[in-house]
C-alpha cells in the first residue's frame, strides 16, 4: 500500500501546481512602479496642442491615467465602461493617446464619445516606456501625492472597477 502512497502524493501535488498554473495570466506582469511616484512628463494636449499637461498639475487629487489608442482593439471593449465611469463623476480620467496620429485619435473620440477630462499625445511612445506600458490599454490609479497605487493591464471591466479600482479610489480620496 505504502508503495503507491508516495507516487500518488507526488502526482497530487504536481497536478495541484499545474491546475493553479492554468488559472494564472502570463500576460499580467507585475509593475515595479506601484508605490512609486508617477513618472513626470509634459505633453501637448490632443484637442489643444498649444496647451500642455503634466501629472504635477494633478497634485492633491486622486486620478486615473488611461493609456489608449485609436488602433487598439481592446480599447473598444473598455470604452463603454470608461464612458459610464466618466458620467458618474467619481474620479477624473486622463488619457494618454499612445503612438497614434492626432487626427485618428480625435476621430475615434468623436465617434465613440470622450470619457477623458483631456488626453495627451505620446506620439513616439516614450512616455509609455517610462510607465512600463507593454500592451494598450493600461490604466493607472494615482493618489493625491502623485504616487501610482494600482495598475490595470488590459481592458477595464465592470468587475475590475467594482472589485478593485473603485474601492481603492474611495479609500485614497478619504486620505
Amino acid at each position: 500500500m505504502s508503495r503507491f502512497l508516495l507516487p500518488l502524493v507526488i502526482f497530487i501535488v504536481l497536478a495541484g501546481f499545474l491546475f493553479v498554473g492554468l488559472g494564472l495570466n502570463p500576460r499580467d506582469v507585475p509593475s515595479p512602479l506601484i508605490g512609486k511616484p508617477a513618472p513626470a512628463f509634459t505633453l501637448p494636449q490632443l484637442h489643444n496642442e498649444k496647451k500642455n499637461f503634466s501629472p504635477a498639475d494633478m497634485k492633491g487629487q486622486v486620478w486615473m491615467l488611461n493609456v489608449w489608442a485609436s488602433w487598439c482593439v481592446s480599447c473598444r471593449e473598455e470604452h463603454p465602461v470608461l464612458m459610464e465611469l466618466a458620467q458618474r463623476n467619481i474620479v477624473p480620467i486622463y488619457g494618454l493617446d499612445y503612438k497614434d496620429k492626432p487626427e485618428d485619435g480625435k476621430l475615434w473620440l468623436a465617434r465613440g464619445g470622450d470619457p477623458y477630462v483631456l488626453s495627451v499625445m505620446d506620439r513616439e511612445g516614450r512616455i509609455g516606456i517610462d510607465y512600463g506600458v507593454y500592451g494598450v490599454p493600461e490604466t493607472y490609479v494615482i493618489d493625491k501625492q502623485g504616487v501610482i497605487r494600482y495598475k490595470h493591464t488590459g481592458p477595464v471591466t465592470q468587475l475590475s472597477l467594482i472589485e478593485k479600482i473603485l474601492p481603492l479610489v474611495a479609500e485614497l480620496q478619504k486620505k
Binding site: P26, P30, P32, E124, G125, R126, G132, Y134
Partner: protein, 153 residues
Amino acid sequence: MKKLFILMLCMLPTFAMAGEAQDMAADPVLEKRMIGLAEKLRCLVCQNESLASSHADLAEDLRREVRELMQKGMSDQEILDYLVARYGDFVLYEPPMKSYTMLLWFGPFALLFVAGLGLVMQLRKRRETVPEANLTPEAHQRAAALLNEEDKS
C-alpha cells in the same frame, strides 16, 4: 604612371562602399553592443522572444531607447537597471538571485539531491534483502560450468 593611375581607379569602389555603410548604420559598434544587450532582454509583447529578435512595435521602440541610452554614455548595467525600473525583473531573461527566486535557482539541485538520496537508500535496502550467496567450492564450479554451457549454445 599609368599603372599607378589604374591602381588608384581600382581602389575607388572601396572608398565608395565605406562611405555608404557609414550612412546606413550610424555606428556599427554601437549597433552590435545594442543587439548584444537586447539578447539578454525579453520582449514584453511576445514573451518568448528576445528584444533583439522581436519585430513587435514595442521591441523596436525599446531598441531605439537602448541605442539612445548607449549614446548618452550609460553602461550596460545602468541600462538594465533603467529597464527593470520600468518593466520589472520580467524584462530580464536571466532572473536575478533574490529571496523569492531561490527556489527557481536551487530547486532543481535540491530535487536532484533528494532523488540521489532516494536512490542510495533504495540500493542499500536491496543489498540487505538480497543476501550474498555463500557457495561451496563445488557449487561454485557447477555454476560456472552451467554458465559456460549457456555461452556456447
